[in-house]
Amino acid sequence: MIIDHPLLGPRDSAEFTYMGDARLIDRPNPNDTDAAATFFDYAYLRDNPAGWHRELWFHEAGDRSWLVVTRNTLTHEISKVELARDVARAQGRSK
């Protein structure tokens, strides 16, 4: 698979480490009263869809940026690559 890095252009997926579902950006608040339940869900449960999947790839052997890659798990086709930083900021993380 070739991942079209927003800053570096097309890179071999072997340079990256796969870090799972992009919903892991939405880390629950540990101070919530239901934190035990929300963290169980966050740490262990996955949608695991057959089809389009937004996922985190870490450019470990490259510029060490984190990407959100939208990829089809049935065909391995990649439709969109974003910097995870931008996605997280757009969601109000890391003010």
Partner: protein, 416 residues
């Protein structure tokens, strides 16, 4: 029809005209006591043990394609019980014992071959870890044998014990391990279950569950509604897809695992070997092909095919211990879809929905577990409580911190 050597000779002399189909092709009935979703090794084994060991009747196995067309047809056929942890080892040892009696139990030649498995040791730390593992195996009634380099050299003279990049310093052997003809496992269980009245319904895809007031009443399928007292799901690889129809989210990611087979060669590899300094395992099939594999690709996939980086990694492992393999041509390669669970261990449990039971999360250890998985799932379905050897495979172990993490990797499915 009972199979025997005598029968083969008789049929050979009469032009093979007396053979009958090994299982029926029935129309689905309106209602069954137990419906098992998934006509793979685990589902068919469950049906066999339900009928034979637990006296259940009115059972159906429903399969979206043809039986044995999923992961039971896409593995490297290795059976072993060399696990470390208490939650696992008694279960896998039960499985190995069932493999030993499988062909007599099923009256079917599954080519169970206890040719032995050898895990190579390349460092002092690895020797300590494998000694501990061997002791855990012996404590649970399995066999384990620490081999010296001289022992290994006797059995595998081609291995480099002198000046390899990762020198071989010994090995943990399980002589009762080996290989089994994978397709024959599905066919043998199917034939036996069918002969005991189980309906095996192929080309019947489940499209939904009928759940009323928290009770599962049956399954909607491409061939209409099938009512059921109990529904058991055994569709590892596609567990998340199926269970999402019951609005369940699982502690599972689906990943692709590739495997390879070389052209047929003369006998060169008497048993199963695993490389300890990388991830590579290899055996030689009775046809002569070297069957080998390595790591999963490491990203979510339902595609049943992988990518080149892992092919390269597997071949590097191969060349490190069998440089001669570089001269063999690759005949076929394929990918199977694994339910990679959050701790690397399976789940055999009830769900929060009455009458709906789950068996999955087999990671890439599902083939060797087939008989024990079938036995344990049948026990759960028939008696409503887990088999004594499968009590740890609960859904709530993640919530309660009771993980069975053989590799100690935590909740990273692609590292198990």
């Amino acid at each position: 029809m009972r199979y025997s050597g005598f029968r083969v000779i008789k049929e050979a002399l009469s032009g093979h005209k007396g053979w009958t189909p090994a299982w029926r092709d029935p129309e689905p009935a309106e209602h069954y006591d137990i419906v098992i979703i998934g006509g793979g090794g685990h589902g068919l084994a469950t049906a066999h043990y339900l009928a034979k060991e637990f006296g259940q009747s009115r059972i159906a196995v429903i399969e979206k394609g043809w039986i044995g067309g999923g992961n039971v047809g896409r593995n490297t056929t290795i059976v072993r019980s060399n696990y470390l942890l208490d939650g696992n080892e008694p279960f896998y040892e039960m499985s190995l014992k069932l493999w030993e009696g499988l062909e007599q139990d099923l009256n079917y030649n599954a080519m169970v071959s206890q040719r032995g498995i050898l895990n190579l040791i390349h460092s002092d730390g690895q020797r300590d870890a494998f000694t501990r593992r061997g002791n855990a195996m012996i404590l649970n009634g399995a066999d384990a044998d620490m081999l010296s380099t001289a022992d290994i050299k006797k059995r595998y003279p081609f291995l480099n014990t002198d000046d390899a990049r990762f020198p071989i310093k010994g090995g943990l052997a399980q002589h009762r391990g080996g290989t089994v003809r994978h397709d024959a496992v599905a066919w043998g269980y199917a034939r036996s279950a069918d002969s005991r009245g189980v309906d095996i319904i192929q080309n019947c895809e489940v499209t939904g569950f009928r759940i009323e007031n928290g009770v599962c009443k049956g399954v909607e399928t491409s061939r209409g509604f099938i009512g059921a007292g109990k529904v058991g799901c055994a569709v590892a690889g596609n567990s998340s897809r199926l269970m999402s129809k019951a609005n369940m989210r699982l502690p599972i990611e689906s990943h692709v695992l590739q495997a390879f087979v070389s052209e047929g060669l003369k006998p060169v590899l008497p048993g199963v070997i695993t490389f300890g300094a990388g991830h590579f395992y290899c055996s030689q099939s009775d046809k002569g092909g070297l069957v080998f594999g390595g790591d999963i690709d490491g990203y979510n996939s339902y595609a049943q095919r992988g990518n080149l980086p892992v092919v390269e990694d597997v071949c590097e492992g191969a060349m490190a211990i069998f440089p001669m393999l570089g001269r063999a041509r690759l005949l076929r390669m394929w990918g199977g879809i694994m339910d990679m669970s959050m701790d690397g261990s399976p789940i055999i449990d009830k769900t929060h929905i009455d009458g709906l039971f789950f068996n999955g999360g087999w990671c890439y250890g599902g083939f060797k577990a087939t008989p024990a998985s079938g036995m344990s799932f049948a026990h759960l379905l028939a008696k409503g409580e887990p088999h004594p050897n499968a009590t740890a495979y609960r859904f709530d172990r993640f919530e309660k911190g009771l993980m069975i993490d053989e590799k100690g990797m935590g909740n990273q499915p692609n590292l198990h």
